[in-house]
């Protein structure tokens, strides 16, 4: 761990560097995870707010990025719970306004991801989108690396199968 005993202003500046480096990737990963750009940004915003509130500790960690994704995944689970409480569909459809030249492709990918169990979806995104190694990703999900590898293999197979049959 590095020493981060900085004054508040310096901590905010330090956090801003982290934010600028990680926010876009976090949003993209969450978009793949939840399938809705508004929800993805909402979770990313809350994740970064929580990290800012604890930057004195998080900034001192060896991997603040890993902490960010772990926090985001926890928030995503809570979001699913809230959706269930409100008796809404578990996986929100892509908003009607979310159209454009890439929207067809994007929706195919989101549909394929939506067909995966939550844990498989997260495994796929952590490794194949965020380039985490399997040990690090297993740690982020709080499961054994061996279980993680099984999960990742199934997720890759399912997504490839789904996208091959999607025109």
């Amino acid at each position: 761990m590095r020493d981060v005993t900085l004054p508040i202003e310096a901590q905010t500046a330090d956090f801003e560097s982290f934010f600028r480096a990680e926010y876009r990737s976090l949003c993209q990963a969450l978009l793949l995870l939840v399938g809705d750009s508004f929800e993805a940004e909402e979770i990313a915003q809350e994740t970064m707010t929580r990290i800012l509130e604890r930057w004195d500790r998080v900034g001192a960690m060896d991997s603040p990025t890993g902490y960010a994704y772990r926090t985001a995944l926890n928030l995503q689970r809570k979001r699913i719970r809230r959706l269930a409480v409100r008796a809404r569909r578990r996986f929100a459809p892509v908003p009607v306004g979310d159209i454009g030249p890439e929207a067809g492709d994007r929706q195919d990918v989101h549909r394929a991801l939506a067909s995966l169990p939550e844990g498989q979806r997260a495994a796929l995104i952590l490794v194949d989108w965020l380039d985490m190694d399997t040990e690090e990703a297993a740690l982020a999900l709080g499961i054994e690396p061996a279980s993680f590898r099984v999960r990742l293999h199934r997720a890759r197979s399912s997504v490839r199968d789904a996208l091959e049959v999607t025109p």
Binding site: G100, R106, G142, R160
Partner: protein, 351 residues
């Protein structure tokens, strides 16, 4: 770069975060700080009013019987689950308690105050809650603390002093989109409930609209019950936060016949659940598509499901299938920890 990454790239093409994202995070942080100060003020006022009320009415709690506390105030801290420190790096229970963790005792308890899905207060002094979620990462499940008999009465009297708990009541919230607030409190030998929420989610769609005073009173109670750190130090026998270790778990599916769910599960899971689940009588729970299992059975089932499907890890032990008979629909099963008053904490989204 993997092939899968190229496939995934199609899922984010054209997406860009909003340009003022950083400024919005700063504003969000400031807004949260302000709301925390307001909540602390509301709780402080509520605690002060309650303290005045307790002092001025001391000895006259004869509206109901005082909750029985085995061992009384001399009961020491109950050693239950592993201690969970409020440290983001703390190790804690994720989904299932570690093997050998001691279940919370006693196994059953008389519910005195409940804020649905968040806080349960028992006559034996236990406070089981999910209010530390997000602050005890990676652990974010249920935790347990212990109150004195006076502490239990402090919370009970705070709820009753609103005057809203004379009888079961449903109130439609005016504009508040936050769904829903459900509080129960023991008054003698009965539990009285008040539910606040949008009229379309209430069982009585013609429920009266809450007055601003009623809504404020209920929100103040919510703030009080979800802020245990603000309760007077004298209410605690043991403020140490420990993971709540249940004795049993529920296993539920919703709107789906157990036989249909069983047919989708791997054979070892069918063997484990078997005839017990097929009884479909709720196994003591009000929902007929639920069954009760011991923690060890839940652990075994979670292992089977994880190996087969990759169940949803974390404190939410659940699993979603796409129903092969209905395109695009999901079957969701979940295991939830059972609470001392016999129902489960609704963590996994099925109830």
């Amino acid at each position: 770069m993997s092939d899968t990454r190229e496939l995934l790239r199609r899922g984010v093409d054209g997406f860009e975060p909003m340009p003022d994202a950083f400024e919005r995070v700063l504003a969000r942080r400031d807004r949260k700080r302000r709301n925390q100060r307001i909540a602390a003020g509301v709780v402080g006022i509520a605690v002060f009013v309650a303290a005045v009320w307790v002092v001025t009415t001391a000895g006259s709690f004869d509206r109901t019987t005082t909750p029985t506390v085995p061992g009384g105030s001399e009961t020491g801290p109950t050693e239950t689950g592993p201690s969970v420190a409020p440290d983001p790096d703390a190790e804690g229970i994720s989904g299932l308690p570690p093997e050998g963790a001691t279940p919370s005792t006693p196994e059953s308890g008389e519910l005195v105050v409940e804020l649905a899905n968040q806080v349960w207060v028992y006559a034996d002094g236990r406070v089981i809650s999910s209010v530390y979620e997000g602050t005890l990462e990676p652990y974010s499940g249920l935790v347990e603390q212990h109150l004195t008999p006076e502490g239990v009465e402090f919370l009970r009297s705070n709820v009753l002093s609103t005057g809203l708990f004379e009888h079961d009541l449903e109130l439609a919230s005016r504009d508040n989109p936050n769904c829903c607030l459900y509080i129960r409190v023991r008054d003698g030998d009965r539990l009285v409930s008040v539910r606040l929420g949008p009229s379309d989610v209430l069982s009585d769609h013609q429920a009266p609209i809450a007055t601003p005073e009623q809504e404020t009173a209920l929100r103040s109670l919510e703030a009080l019950l979800t802020s245990p750190t603000s309760w007077p130090a004298s209410v605690w026998t043991d403020q140490q936060i420990r993971a709540y270790v249940p004795t049993s778990y529920s296993f539920c599916s919703r709107f789906v016949e157990p036989s249909h769910v069983l047919a989708l599960l791997p054979e070892p899971a069918r063997d484990l659940l078997g005839a017990k689940y097929l009884k479909a009588d709720g196994d003591g729970f009000p929902q007929p598509t639920c069954s009760r299992m011991t923690t060890e059975e839940a652990r075994a089932l979670a292992g089977i499901l994880d190996a087969e499907f990759g169940y949803e890890e974390g404190p939410y032990l659940g699993l979603s299938f796409e129903d092969p008979e209905v395109s695009g629909s999901y079957i969701r099963i979940a295991m939830n920890p059972v609470l001392p008053h016999g129902t489960w904490a609704w963590l996994a989204g099925v109830g």
